[in-house]
């Protein structure tokens, strides 16, 4: 077992009120009774809204935060007391932090990591070359980090975190602020790392489904879902169909769906279409109006969060 938590709880002290000379605090439960296990080779997606406790869970796993109660074990050890030992086997990318030295080329940080993690010279050269090719990052590793774009910096950040070939890769919102192309090249890259154990946090369930074999959803510090991505993909979540048309809607359509919505920008929207009706719905629309464009979307995370917290599924 790479990671195992048992009834893990983390409480923070939160400021309730600020008086002139002292502050009043209240206990805030950031993580409540978290139980899960992570096996070698799993790609785990950790999803939740802002403030749901994702980063807190990651800090506990990494041993840079102490649990309030319950236990967490990383590589079968207490992460807090074995932090430096475990570090040899873990690679971390925090989307909002940087380990690269601002004034120096990314390559200098790679070289520093080579020495810190004691990677032999030839292996190092090979790995940098490989990683840089996979991430399409060959042409900016020698320029000072402060001159890099956000996406370029994130790619360099990935290389720095993976130079010692860690078994466990922890990524806390690594795609924050990246454009679609960069996001895709990073998700494709992560998909290739099948022999590594990965924890990937994001607000974006679609992205997580691409990278991960299993997904956890956190909501207000509680684990509300723990499913494989296959099961998750099968989950029937109602979709939203949006289409535009120059013509006005035929009666057949408005009769069938009285709830059809006209949006501000002139397009039409149908919500709450379940999987099995989707096909017939689409053919019905395309048959009865002249459609300029049509789009099907489902916001799984929103839906799941709304339903899971009510039902307390897991």
């Amino acid at each position: 077992m790479i990671i195992e938590t048992k009834s893990l709880v983390k409480r923070y002290k939160k400021v309730k009120a600020t008086k002139l000379f002292h502050k009043e605090y209240r206990d805030f439960v950031a993580l409540q009774n978290i139980n899960f296990q992570l096996k070698q080779g799993e790609h785990l997606g950790l999803v939740g809204l802002n403030g749901s406790g994702k980063s807190t869970l990651i800090k506990l796993i990494l041993g840079i935060l102490q649990p309030s109660s319950g236990s967490v074990r990383t590589f079968d050890m207490d992460p807090l007391t074995n932090r430096q030992k475990n570090a040899q086997k873990i690679g971390v990318v925090f989307g909002q932090r940087s380990q690269l030295r601002w004034d120096l080329p990314a390559m200098d940080t790679f070289k520093l990591n080579r020495e810190i993690y004691q990677v032999p010279e030839e292996i190092f050269a090979k790995r940098v070359k490989n990683l840089a090719e996979m991430l399409d990052a060959t042409d900016f590793l020698l320029q000072p980090v402060r001159t890099l774009s956000l996406g370029q910096r994130m790619k360099a950040e990935f290389i720095a975190a993976l130079i010692h070939d860690p078994d466990l890769i922890i990524l806390d919102e690594p795609t924050i602020g990246l454009d679609v192309l960069s996001k895709n090249s990073i998700t494709q890259f992560l998909q290739k790392l099948t022999n590594k154990t990965i924890i990937f946090t994001s607000h974006d369930l679609d992205e997580v489904e691409k990278v991960c074999s299993r997904t956890l959803i956190l909501s207000h510090g509680q684990l509300v879902l723990d499913k494989s991505s296959k099961e998750l993909a099968k989950l029937d979540v109602p979709s939203t169909v949006t289409f535009t048309s120059k013509n006005s809607l035929s009666e057949a359509i408005t009769a069938k769906w009285p709830t059809i919505n006209r949006l501000e920008n002139g397009s039409y929207q149908l919500t709450g279409i379940m999987q099995e009706e989707l096909k017939s719905t689409l053919s019905m629309i395309t048959a009865s109006v002249e459609v300029d464009s049509i789009e099907v979307k489902n916001n799984k995370l929103e839906y799941l969060l709304g339903h899971l917290t009510k039902q307390e599924v897991c």
Partner: protein, 256 residues
């Protein structure tokens, strides 16, 4: 091992990246040295020239040390406040090791840009009359003083975990340095009580004691200073480890 060398290199590169800032620092030091020169010339009027020479060279030496010693407490404070300390904590290397060797690299650049000029001034004020043994003694105690100062800065920086801003604490430190470390003027100008107190303060062994040794070199004084420096280094190193262990576990890494 080799990672230390790499950290030193990174420190050097970082220093070189801010070489213009260091040049400006050099100019401001030259100006303040000139002011001090005339100030002490006036203060010590009617005294033998030897005393003036000793005093002014002492002050220049203190200035060299001030420039070269690391500002680790601020670095640690920044890291704690921003939460970037998480990154350093997740390396298989202690944070003090990272800060020490990178700081040495940076200090080497400061030495090359500011220290060399300052040192020429120092020798010049002494008419280039200084025994080789004295240079050796000062060099050894200055290096130990560096380590001692580094440990003190680490301990101060650790308070960031509790207060998040160590501005108050470092201001207090600056005041102690100014008055009791022999940083601003030599200890023999102190009232005797203050002199007694100063003698036992750890900062004294990063500054004043080294200056005194340069003024009145003697092997037995040298050995006494080195022994006290070593004791303090070990003591503060233990104190830092204790404090840091407690604070990094009991407190919270910010941000995320």
């Amino acid at each position: 091992m080799k990672y230390r060398l790499m950290l030193v290199k990174i420190g050097i590169k970082k220093g070189l990246a801010s070489k213009y800032a260091l040049l400006f620092w050099l100019f401001s030091i030259l100006i303040s040295t000139t002011v001090q020169y005339f100030l002490w010339k006036a203060v010590l009027i009617g005294k033998p020239n030897r005393e003036f020479q000793e005093t002014i060279s002492y002050l220049v030496l203190m200035q060299i040390l001030t420039v070269l010693f690391p500002k680790t407490s601020y670095e640690l404070n920044d890291k704690v406040r921003s939460g970037d300390i998480a990154i350093d904590l997740l390396k298989p290397l202690s944070i003090s090791t990272q800060l020490l060797w990178e700081g040495i690299g940076y200090s080497l650049v400061k030495f090359a840009i500011i220290g060399v000029v300052d040192m020429l001034i120092f020798f010049w004020f002494l008419d280039f009359k200084i025994a080789f043994s004295t240079i050796l003694m000062v060099l050894v105690t200055a290096i130990l003083g560096y380590f001692l100062y580094f440990e003190l800065e680490l301990v101060l920086g650790t308070f960031s975990f509790y207060t998040y801003s160590i501005w108050g604490i470092t201001t207090f430190k600056e005041a102690i340095l100014l008055v009791l470390a022999g940083n601003a003027f030599p200890a023999n100008f102190y009232p005797s009580l203050l002199k007694k107190i100063a003698q036992y303060l750890p900062f004294q062994y990063s500054y004043g004691a080294i200056g005194t040794l340069a003024q009145h070199p003697a092997w037995n004084l040298f050995i006494k200073i080195v022994v006290i420096q070593l004791i303090y280094i070990v003591a503060f190193n233990l104190l830092f480890k204790l404090l840091f262990k407690h604070s990094a576990n009991a407190t919270v890494i910010q941000g995320g």
